[in-house]
Subunit: 235 residues, 2 copies
């Protein structure tokens, strides 16, 4: 027994939950998962009792509460090999890229809210979104080229790939491509993330979720010219 | 020679620059500082040649470019003692709190833009700002109480204090108090940060800066009912 309990929210929406979950699953770390669906207005919200910010993910380990996704990664990195690359240059690059995702890409996160089980055509593509997609392409291409792939910082899936895993679902949902040429490195990397066993498990479970949370659904409707529904859990 | 070169922007405005700078200064790490003032529209902008995101802070160390403030902290933590607390529980708490600042407190950051050398009365205090100030008070009070102070995670200044150092300037500039009682822990901690030698050096140098950058100045004018100017560098 590792003693790890990872609290997450709805797989369909919760991009922050996905990051430590896909890392722990892909590294083969033993943990107990507890999924707390987002509460609609007026419903009781158990999250403040679980996490000091009232947000997930939150990792419980004995008395410890690790309440931020990047801090969870560093906590695991002190205890298990493989969380970050072994090579110091690759590790530094990976930490920069993960931290850039942690505090940045605000337009991508707000315009292209994660919803694994839908396909959305955007009404418009703001210039700020194009700028962020260009940065994403340049960052991913740099990592894949410099460290030899097939993952961002080398041969194995590490925390930096986990940090960009939700982006792969967003690109799929909103039909966004990063490269202009077919099979170019950044789009091939997106496909590689989506094909990982842990990502496929997350996705299939997201499709089966019965919950619809109003504020997330509104975020999606607001930007959509059209929506295709793939979720087959009872609404 | 450590070989560290830390690129920063205007001391008056650049809250992100302050974080690694105050950490390195307070830990006594040797580094060369290069200040690149924010360019006004139409002026040449040297930052894209310095940092892959075009943003500072960026730490150069030999061929390495460490382009995010939290990644700079972890890079230094691998090389020098004292960056994070030695006690594992305090260290985990410190990483969570620093990461929460790194990705959060968006209203405080946008409404109370850092401008060390001005005193600003806000036109209004949005509810989201009050919520963030309450979270700040609860987080700081928890750290100071749990780890015994006088710093957030114990007896010494560590990276988590560096991450909240810009907040001390914001609270001073906008006349915001966290506690209701005088000399309560969170406001006393703010005063303690402002009194640190490195913070005083930063502040005095900010007052002497001659540069005024239009978009930062506009951010401040937009929220201000009144502004008192303390900067005495030639405008």
């Amino acid at each position: 027994m590792s003693g790890y309990t990872l609290y997450i929210a709805n797989r369909n929406y919760s991009s922050w939950s996905l990051r430590p979950w896909v890392l722990m699953r892909t590294l083969g770390l033993d943990f107990e998962e507890r999924l707390i669906p987002f509460a609609n207005a007026g419903e009781p919200n158990p999250l403040p009792a679980i996490s000091p910010t009232g947000r997930v993910p939150c990792l419980h380990h004995g008395e410890l509460r690790v309440w931020d996704s990047l801090a969870i990664v560093e906590y695991l990195a002190e205890r298990h090999p493989g969380v970050w690359p072994t090579d110091p240059t690759a590790r530094t690059w990976a930490r920069c890229a993960a931290a850039e995702m942690h505090s940045g890409f605000g337009t991508l996160r707000s315009v292209c809210s994660m919803t694994c089980g839908q396909r959305v055509v955007l009404r418009e593509r703001p210039a700020a979104l194009e700028t962020e997609l260009q940065r994403l392409r340049s960052l991913w291409t740099e990592g894949l080229t410099r460290f030899g792939g097939p993952f961002l910082a080398g041969a194995t899936f590490t925390a930096v790939d986990a940090f960009f895993a939700p982006v792969a679902f967003r690109l799929q949902t909103y039909g966004l491509r990063l490269d202009t040429a077919p099979d170019a490195p950044a789009d091939a990397y997106t496909a590689r993330l989506l094909a990982l066993p842990a990502m496929r498990d997350w996705y299939e479970a997201a499709l089966r979720e019965p919950w619809r949370e109003a504020s997330h659904e509104e975020d999606i409707v607001r930007v959509a010219a059209s929506i295709t529904e793939l979720r087959h859990g009872p609404p």
